[in-house]
Amino acid sequence: MDLKELYRDVILDHNRRPRNFGRIEPCDAHAEGHNPLCGDRLTLYVRLKDDRIEDIRFEGKGCAISTASASLMTEAVKGKDRGAFNELYGRIHSLLTQQDAVPDASLGKLAALSGVREFPARVKCASLCWHTLNAALERSAATVSTE
């Protein structure tokens, strides 16, 4: 177990200076994530154009892993449509949970999250924002489809 694997420079940097931190008002979708284990709370705000993420911001208090993961996520998903997000969501899920998942170059900075899987107690910290965004998008898709 190597702490350096978990707290890589990218993670520490995004924890110290989270990108896209704040609100979007008004927004097209927002969702709250809560990790009761550590008390972390996170709110995501998304502006959509059709099903493309035009802008995304987050707010909340969390540990370094959850803050950095949210910050990295907001950078990575901006401009992506629903299909591209779904694809990335699946890859992040394997990256966080499968021991043999190799981060390929296309993941860019998100590859830094792979250190988390050596720390099973912390996987939820890293995945919270991803589940929250997925829920926000699903909800907005659901409201759209009922209109």
Binding site: C38, G39, R41, G62, I65, C125
Partner: protein
């Protein structure tokens, strides 16, 4: 808990190195380092005498209790009822009928909520708790409130993490039917003036339940001296097994309460028309109990008494004072819970490092602390923090453990420099 000043002879000091040899788990390494276990407030470890008592029961005595004439059924019944008598002596209850075996503190409190409070309370009645309670001493009362229409009141705490005694006293009135308070706060370490609070509540005719989960491992508890009506605790925080705990209740109250679960053991006769309930304490022990757990709990009580509860308390207080002093010297550390009268529980935050990250870094150094809200979310809300890291000390901890904690904290500082 501080040793009371009126003791004549000082307690003999604890031989910690000998104590440690009784706890095989302490020989483990974690991440290649010796285990430094500072999470006894969540659950303490078990010494060999407890493990052996359970093993001996399982290998020589096990059968069901109260149900047979054969030798093993007798042996199991004797072991179980012997454990009950052991508990009675440990807490100085008047009678063994006042000792009800439950799964733990949580179940004990729920029993009182459902069997004592629910049938008696209604709109206009009040239950009074405090702002530092564990969820186990909040949620059962919210359930009773929702079931009966009574009101749930919360006595305020202050920045030191103490219950505001004046505020508490001011909230007592003839409408107060039940007062439920922690003896020691698990999130803050605060020792509550339970005797005083109980006397005041009794003066208004209220019944008092004490959540003793965190007090029982750190001090001798005498339920009659405290004067409380109910006292609940868990075996696993007293170096005993999980899944066993005790609800003490004054006989007069227990006798008037309906059973809360139905089944075997809690009845005398059953027909399809009518059932007559068993006498105390069996009325509240439906179904096959945790027999080996009770045996282990009794052995744990023998164990702590053999070390001396005062010697344990004095030892833990030394560690608490040492660790508090060391933490206060580290820039950015804030101790949460600074009451002058504390048990060996030390909650803190480190500026710039989330408690969850602190927990991981400490763990990589072999240091086990608890991080999170400690099942006391209202306490976290009061202090406006999401969580704390909490180190708690037991009879087997040493000054070297404190040093390891401090060293691991500087490591955390380095990682987040």
């Amino acid at each position: 808990m501080a040793v009371t000043a009126d003791r004549i002879a000082p307690a003999p000091a604890l031989d910690v190195e000998r104590v440690r040899r009784d706890f095989p788990i302490l020989e483990r390494t974690i991440n290649g380092r010796p285990l430094v276990y500072l999470d006894s407030a969540a659950s303490s470890q078990r010494p060999l005498p407890v493990l052996r008592a359970v093993e001996r029961y399982e290998t020589h005595c096990h059968s069901n209790v109260h149900r047979g004439v054969h030798a093993l059924s007798q042996a199991a019944t004797e072991a179980f009822e012997g454990a009950r008598e052991r508990v009675r002596r440990f807490i100085n209850a008047q009678s063994r009928t006042e000792v009800i075996f439950v799964r733990g503190t949580t179940e004990g409190i729920n029993l009182v909520a459902q069997s004592y409070a629910r049938p008696r309370l209604g709109p206009g009645d009040e239950i009074l708790i405090t702002g530092l309670e564990h969820h186990a001493n909040i949620v059962p009362w919210q359930m009773v409130r929702d079931q009966t229409g009574c009101t749930l009141k919360v006595a305020p705490i202050n920045r030191r993490g103490e219950v505001e005694l004046d505020g508490f006293l001011a909230m007592l009135s003839p409408r107060t039917r039940l007062v439920a308070i922690a003896h020691v706060s698990n999130a803050l370490g605060t020792v509550l003036p339970v005797k005083r609070m109980t006397d005041a509540a009794h003066a208004h005719g209220a019944v008092v339940l004490v959540d003793g989960a965190q007090a029982i491992p750190h001090s001798a508890v005498d339920v009659r001296a405290l004067g409380c009506d109910f006292y609940a605790f868990s075996g696993h925080k007293l170096y005993g097994p999980t899944g066993i705990g005790v609800l003490y209740g004054r006989e007069e109250l227990l006798a008037a309460m309906p059973p809360w679960q139905g089944g075997g053991d809690m009845i005398l006769t059953v027909s399809f028309e009518k059932t007559t309930y068993n006498e105390l304490p069996y009325k509240f022990e439906a179904g096959t109990p945790n027999i080996s757990g009770a045996v282990g709990l009794a052995a744990a009580m023998d164990y702590v008494e053999s070390l001396g509860l005062e010697a344990i308390a004095a030892h833990e207080q030394r560690l608490l004072a040492l660790a508090t002093g060391e933490l206060e010297r580290i820039p950015g550390i804030e101790i949460i819970g600074t009451a002058p009268h504390k048990a060996a529980v030390l909650s803190f935050t480190m500026a710039g490092v989330h408690p969850h990250d602190l927990g991981t870094i400490l763990d990589s150094e072999g240091v086990a602390v608890r991080t999170g809200h400690h099942c006391a979310m209202p306490v976290m809300t009061f202090f406006e923090i999401p969580a704390t890291a909490r180190a708690s000390f037991g009879c087997y901890n040493t000054e070297a453990d404190v040093a390891a904690l401090i060293a691991a904290l500087s490591k955390a500082r380095e990682v987040f420099a």
